[in-house]
Symmetry: C3
């Protein structure tokens, strides 16, 4: 196998694993570990509608524009300040794609569907979205420079309580 092919494979699997880890942390409410996936020196997390994204409107529904803001976001969850539904969430991440790879960063996308399950074991569709992100190679693997969650579903009041 030629080296470029080998690198492409290796890179794709890294990105796939990154998304699986990202989803796992959130599914199991390990919010501090989710924060650690962001680059401390420069990062951004935002939720925006597909419509605005397609129109090129940089108008997020919600945004954290620094590592401190990302950390504060979930600190509230850990401390129980926000009230939100105690449903279990499970994130299905599919269609993982490496869209470009530069020397110092790469861009990637994936489709996301989130399911919620009540304490009584009743499950339903919660959220349909797409991840579009810029990742850098950090000391412990890939880290987030920018994570945009482009949502098709936005009629959900609790959507912004728990990160997607």
């Amino acid at each position: 196998m030629s080296s470029p092919q080998a690198n492409a494979l290796s890179r794709w699997l890294s990105v796939h694993q990154f998304f699986a880890t990202y989803a796992d942390h959130l599914d199991h409410e390990r919010f501090a570990q989710w924060v650690d996936l962001f680059d401390p020196s420069d990062c951004r997390y935002e939720v925006l509608s597909r419509e605005n994204r397609d129109l090129g409107l940089a108008l997020p529904i919600m945004g954290c524009f620094s590592h401190g803001m990302v950390r504060d976001r979930v600190a509230m969850l850990a401390k129980g300040v926000l009230t939100y539904r105690r449903d279990k969430l499970l994130r299905q991440v599919s269609n993982v794609q490496v869209r470009s790879a530069e020397a110092d960063h790469l861009t990637a996308s994936a489709n996301l569907v989130v399911y919620q399950s009540s304490e009584e074991g009743v499950s339903s569709l919660y959220m349909v979205a797409r991840y579009e992100c810029e990742l850098i190679e950090g000391p412990q693997g890939l880290q987030i420079r920018r994570m945009a969650v482009v949502v098709d579903s936005f009629g959900i009041d609790t959507m912004l309580a728990v990160p997607l």
Copy 2:
């Protein structure tokens, strides 16, 4: 790593990327680019029920039996001749498998779930299906010789308007 293993990995990733690209084009209504995924010299696109597929009945619910028919199919969509719901669709493709690999073509399958989201941001399950296809190595990557969409859901009147 032995060369057959390396080839298998490389082939699988190509097929995975093919499905991700296929889904992206349709999710974003880039119909002309979807057409370009088909082999111009010989191709076929068809939607059939799982029941008929399992019984070996070659009776598609809908079929395009040449590149011209595939092109005409979506030309109508671009021109707005057909009326169909303006819901956003998102395709989750999973369980990607390379089922056989010959010198000049390969067969592959994947599971497909499509979600629809209204302009108000309300999402729901639209379609459950399975891709079964024959692909050839074209000048710009994999191209479709035959794409069968084997559907579990068929109580949907708009199903045949937009390609799956």
Copy 3:
């Protein structure tokens, strides 16, 4: 590509293919072939709730603790002894992860969403769960030493009829 990287890629693809094959056998009701995925000398299949799993309670909702029990489980289905709904099921397996790899076995996980479709072609969400398993390298590829299906959905009376 370095050899550890190549091995990791190769191992991941094997596990991905294992889950795709596992899902395919069940989706198409090839129960005997599903049984063949278990290690005949020592295996275990169990369904447990996420809550019990997280609390470390080894209290399965259902369990088969030997190859004979796994075989007997689906023998009843093949013989039509159990009555269960004839819906078609389709399993979407995503977020496939190899969690550890030892010389003689590996552990893996994946997220599972099952959809049911009636004879009339109406589809709905059936089950949200997660596979957590221990696999060994058998003569014909990976085999199951232990398969735990950790379910978020458990308000489903027919859940235990057909394996997940």
